[in-house]
């Protein structure tokens, strides 16, 4: 047990090292890029061209293969940013600040994609592009938090104070996450409850669920890929004048 713990602690310390992460991400990026394409293409292709038509909505339901993965990663990214904010506040680990700075624009993009794809689905099915129900509004709040984090970061010239201020804002925004998740259960909304259930059987047929799960996996891998790339670029930006970077 203590061996595993030691290994984990070593890994944690390595994560904090710029040269190590720069080298590691340089090796990992091509592999992640290749692996992420497989579930993404199979999932989206299967979902859009081969999965069966829905009995009630017809073909418009196929937006689910973009909407659900985008909405899922948009919230997960914020969860990981919250963990990074805690690490950044307590241990002042610089890499945690880089993580938040790099992930915020990715999270904002996927939240935007979830909002837009949901809107395009809502027009034919519900009869409206937008409604101020609890699920849609809390997702919009998530998007605004991402934008606020990005703009707060860019308003500082000193990286250290930027990392601390952004961490605090990230923690405040984390309160919104359980609200998004539970909004469809706590209040009555136009948005339906989740079809994929962890504890009981899902209310989406398996022929539709499998491609959906594949595209969710694909979206997570794309997030991993763009996260690695963004963090690598941010390290290069901060360390451009340092000895170790020049000697590369």
């Amino acid at each position: 047990m203590s061996k595993i713990l030691k290994k984990f602690i070593t890994f944690y310390h390595k994560l904090g090292s710029y040269p190590w992460f720069y080298k590691f991400s340089g090796i990992a990026i091509p592999y992640v890029a290749f692996i992420s394409l497989i579930p993404l293409f199979i999932g989206l292709g299967w979902g859009i061209f081969y999965s069966p038509t829905d009995y009630k909505q017809g073909d418009v339901y196929r937006i689910i293969y973009m909407h659900v993965p985008a909405a899922s990663v948009s919230q997960s990214i914020y969860y990981t940013m919250t963990i990074a904010a805690i690490v950044s506040m307590i241990w002042r680990m610089k890499m945690a600040g880089i993580f938040i700075k790099s992930m915020a624009p990715i999270g904002a993009s996927f939240t935007f994609l979830a909002l837009i794809s949901g809107s395009i689905w809502g027009q034919p099915t519900w009869g409206t592009w937008w409604i101020w129900d609890a699920r849609l509004t809390s997702t919009l709040v998530l998007f605004i938090f991402y934008i606020a984090i990005i703009s707060l970061y860019s308003s500082f010239s000193e990286k250290k104070s930027a990392d601390q201020a952004v961490s605090i804002l990230t923690l405040v925004g984390a309160v919104n996450l359980p609200i998004i998740k539970k909004s469809v259960d706590w209040w009555n909304t136009l948005h339906q409850p989740s079809s994929i259930k962890l504890t009981e059987s899902s209310t989406i047929s398996l022929e539709m669920l499998y491609p959906l799960l594949l595209s969710i996996i694909g979206f997570y891998l794309i997030v991993l890929l763009s996260g690695l790339m963004a963090m690598r670029a941010e390290i290069a930006k901060r360390e451009i004048n340092k000895e170790w970077f020049k000697s590369l």
Partner: protein
């Protein structure tokens, strides 16, 4: 744990819990207003003021949908399986509007004759996704 780090941990806990309390209080204060619509039971219990636009949601009662010929006018009943409200609407209905399916109507409630004049009808989709062929086979079409 080093003392300075423990203090920072307290700061983290303080930020999270104070913002959670603040947001929680707002949500409790707004509780009824966050709900998108009233159910027919809630409407009958505490009928809101006349001449104030509200939303009402529930199921379109089976067999209650009645289209007036030569116009866009429709009449139907919204039910929550306990109480019912008669709805009048004139306009185009969304694709998913069907009997026995979820609906949210915006308009004015008249408590005296328990009727609702809607100016917007939205279909509420449920969380069930099924292939067309399977459902047709089950229904024996």
């Amino acid at each position: 744990m080093i003392k300075i780090r423990r203090n920072r941990l307290y700061a983290v806990l303080f930020i999270v819990s104070s913002s959670a309390v603040a947001v929680g209080l707002v949500l409790i204060a707004l509780n009824q207003n966050i709900n998108l619509f009233y159910s027919p039971s809630e409407l009958l219990e505490s009928g809101p003021l006349k001449n104030k636009s509200i939303r009402i949601g529930g199921l379109v009662e089976k067999g209650s949908l009645n289209r007036v010929s030569d116009s866009l006018e429709v009449n139907f009943i919204i039910t929550d399986l306990k109480e019912k409200v008669a709805v009048k609407y004139s306009g185009i209905l969304p694709d998913l509007f069907k009997e026995d399916a979820g609906v949210v109507a915006t308009g004015y409630y008249d408590k005296n004759n328990n009727s609702f004049q809607a100016f917007e009808i939205l279909a509420k989709h449920d969380e069930n996704y099924e292939p067309k062929e399977v459902v047709n086979a089950l229904e024996g079409k």
